[in-house]
Symmetry: C2
């Protein structure tokens, strides 16, 4: 198949820099100029847990201003000092949405995502909303993170993420999710526009003939690098008139179509996807705290500044204001801290 | 599908210990009790390259007695000291089968396998013999090694291993190889005999109906852990009378059948697979040096003692004698050294 011939470098088209999946860059997390030692942090956390009532502000002040590496050192040191894991201590001290959020934030990101994926796969919910986390792990993360999640999944649950996908997701969604979570994409900016054009046509044909779970489609979406795919989606729009996700939406309203649109959005613009996750979790009656927490915790160290800008673009209001207005108490204080704001 | 329900621990049946994919254990490589510093080794190697003619014995004496970590340190140190990579130096000094073997041995194992896989995928050969290396990477290695090879492949060739498989391997072999190289199996000994029985039946049905490239078959072979699969193959034999590879052979002689038999052998008994690779490369007219080199170099640090024992079992003669009798000169000396023998 010609379109799968070896890629070569031609007209690289930057969309987002490679660093967008890397810690640092465009995150909202505010770190201290001088970071206390993990021993000091552990002592302070222990103190916050002791006595009459828990010092939630103290916990937020520490954990809400430490990056993944720093939190890892605190976890290790706390365990050594007190012969108890920090996670267990947090579990016994905190509860509700605040507790859930702090605990998720304190896990190693790969363990956090493995646990969220496992919860999603055990869920009896209909539709595909609960599978969002698996698409995010596989389409809005670096290849190293995906592998780390798969490794954590094996360690935590004594079998592989893939086995659980096969066991709990029906075809044809199964085939697509499996292709995506097993991907290890080239992660530099190498784009072949000829290939992008050919594959845009292949995608168009699949949409037209309602053959969306065809192996070729899975190969395109799960083996091509993100820059290449973004160019393919651009070519699609140029050649066939509509954005690809709109054409998929027009072709059907089933789970398969919804999943593919989610995949395409996550690949094309992770910041837009997460802006929509935040927006959807807030807008309407009640708040979907689990989704809100997940979006903020996953992206605070990666690209939250871009998510905020996309949010403003889509909803014509500030993400910070929306979160502040829709949450309360310690939960709000913690999210606002991760968003880089003052309490 | 019931057979894909969550695995649970029941009657673990050890076949080979987990360490069989780990460096150390059952390898044939002989290390020195006191290892010289990488600086000393680099100086000696440089000296072996200089002057009138190359000191091949000196090179064998050093590199043939260093494990992967030690070779890595020598590579790094040599580069720093002489502003030239050790691989480049070896390339300019050595040639023929000896040169190829020493260079493959000197690469990091993940880079070595990525290069071998790339060569295999570029090959215009018919049949599936040249794809053997890809099956070995994915079915006779640890999940960490597979990921390291995929990572090295991206770094070396600017696109992913999966993209090259899609581009150069026709369906249905493509689907099977893709499933295998993207696997990240659970690597501890957890076996569910109920699942093994169900999946043995599913495999039997696929063989009977000549539907070997069915998605279920790919899922079974690429998501289940090796211990689980070995139990499945045992169940197959007990329930359906023949070893599964024999039934596949009877069902057809095409590339698909050959590939699946190779996959099953690599999973069931990597040592038997490599004994056969050595045997086939030696027996008959001429020697297939590339296969012989690959087998010895890949397994010298892993399970060569078991490969030798399987060889004796199959061919009723010693692998060491066969290699000594069929090769000559520096090439022979190097292989014999890796096999743990005296020159």
């Amino acid at each position: 198949m010609k379109s799968f011939k070896k890629l070569f470098t031609s007209k690289p088209k930057p969309h987002i820099p490679e660093s967008s999946f890397k810690i640092g860059g465009m995150g909202s997390l505010k770190l201290l100029d001088v970071i206390p030692s993990p021993e000091d942090d552990s002592h302070k956390l222990k103190k916050a847990f002791q006595g009459f009532g828990t010092d939630e502000d103290g916990i937020i002040e520490i954990l809400g201003h430490r990056d993944a590496n720093q939190r890892k050192k605190i976890r290790e040191t706390y365990h050594q000092l007190y012969n108890e894991t920090l996670i267990d201590a947090l579990k016994s001290e905190l509860s509700g949405d605040f507790g859930k959020a702090v605990i998720l934030w304190t896990y190693d990101p790969s363990e956090r995502d493995a646990r969220l994926a496992n919860e999603a796969l055990k869920s009896k919910k209909k539709g595909i909303k609960h599978l969002e986390i698996i698409v995010e792990i596989s389409c809005a993360s670096s290849p190293q993170h995906i592998v780390a999640v798969r490794q954590a999944y094996c360690t935590l649950f004594d079998h592989s993420l893939e086995e659980d996908i096969v066991a709990s997701v029906p075809p044809p969604l199964r085939k697509i999710l499996l292709g995506l979570v097993t991907s290890y994409r080239y992660d530099k900016e190498v784009v072949d526009t000829d290939v992008a054009n050919l594959e845009a046509d292949r995608l168009h044909e699949a949409i037209k003939t309602k053959d969306l779970a065809n192996d070729d489609i899975v190969y395109i979406l799960s083996t091509r690098n993100f820059y290449q795919l973004r160019t393919t989606f651009e070519c699609y729009k140029k050649k066939h008139g509509n954005p690809i996700d709109k054409d998929i939406e027009k072709s059907g309203k089933g789970d398969l179509e919804s999943l593919l649109r989610m995949v395409i959005l996550c690949i094309d613009s992770p910041e837009k996807h997460f802006a929509e996750v935040v927006g959807t979790s807030i807008i309407g009656l009640g708040t979907d705290e689990d989704s809100l927490t997940r979006a903020i915790i996953s992206r605070a160290e990666i690209d939250m500044m871009k998510v905020k800008s996309e949010y403003l673009n889509i909803y014509k209001s500030s993400l910070d204001d929306a979160v502040t207005g829709d949450t309360s108490g310690d939960y709000r204080n913690f999210l606002v801290t991760l968003l880089g704001g003052k309490i």
